[in-house]
Symmetry: C2
Subunit: 135 residues, 2 copies
């Protein structure tokens, strides 16, 4: 796996204050694509997002680590960044610290308000491999 | 291939006036996902979007017709619809009529302003097979 950096001209799309969403495409068990929006965090090296382990997307990424994130500029719909990458680590989030940080970022709440008893949360860490920007 | 209808409670996300974008995930030649936003039209039966035939996404869909569109409500980021479908037809757009209609929808222009001499435009018609909504 080769690594890559985010182009300087699109780095703002990953900023905390931009609050952009990432549409995350994975490959399902039959080889067909699956795609939905998530909250994400960028730590300068990894794109991170939360999943419950009951989700199809979690099973997809366990089986095939390749992922593509499509990120649209909320302020300019003619700017976007596609980040293709690989899942390199799954971190447990037993105290829902990470998803609560995301709730802070996106909805200004100190704690994620939709946690359900029994949900097992994890943090999916994706390393960018290739990027394509437009706009 | 089975067909499906769009759930009534999410049908507004496909409306002309909603001007939502679809993030379109396809499968590349190496089996990895590719994902980026597009303008789209919904005619009640097909989701349609424009491509130039030089695009990787065009080649991907020619090789594997399975596609997933992730559509976020521009007015409520906690509502989204995922439409999985299959490419069922490719229509030529030699006079850029379709992409100009999309320019009307999204940016209020009568004619698509970024057409380049030599670009061959087509309309990709996707039939929904399965939908998943949230929010």
């Amino acid at each position: 796996m080769t690594s890559t950096t985010i182009p300087e001209s699109f780095a703002d799309l990953l900023d905390w204050d931009t609050k952009s969403f990432a549409h995350v495409a994975t490959i399902g068990p039959d080889g067909a694509p699956q795609n939905n929006p998530v909250w994400f965090d960028w730590d300068g090296e990894h794109l991170k997002f939360s999943l419950t382990t009951g989700r199809q997307k979690y099973r997809n990424l366990r089986a095939d680590s390749r992922v593509s994130l499509s990120i649209l500029d909320p302020a300019d719909p003619y700017r976007y960044l596609e980040v293709r990458g690989e899942l390199v680590e799954i971190e447990p989030d037993p105290n829902i610290d990470f998803i609560s940080r995301m709730a802070k970022k996106y909805i200004g709440k100190d704690r994620y308000p939709w946690h359900r008893e029994g949900d097992e949360r994890v943090v999916m860490k994706v390393k960018p491999v290739k990027t394509t920007g437009m706009g």
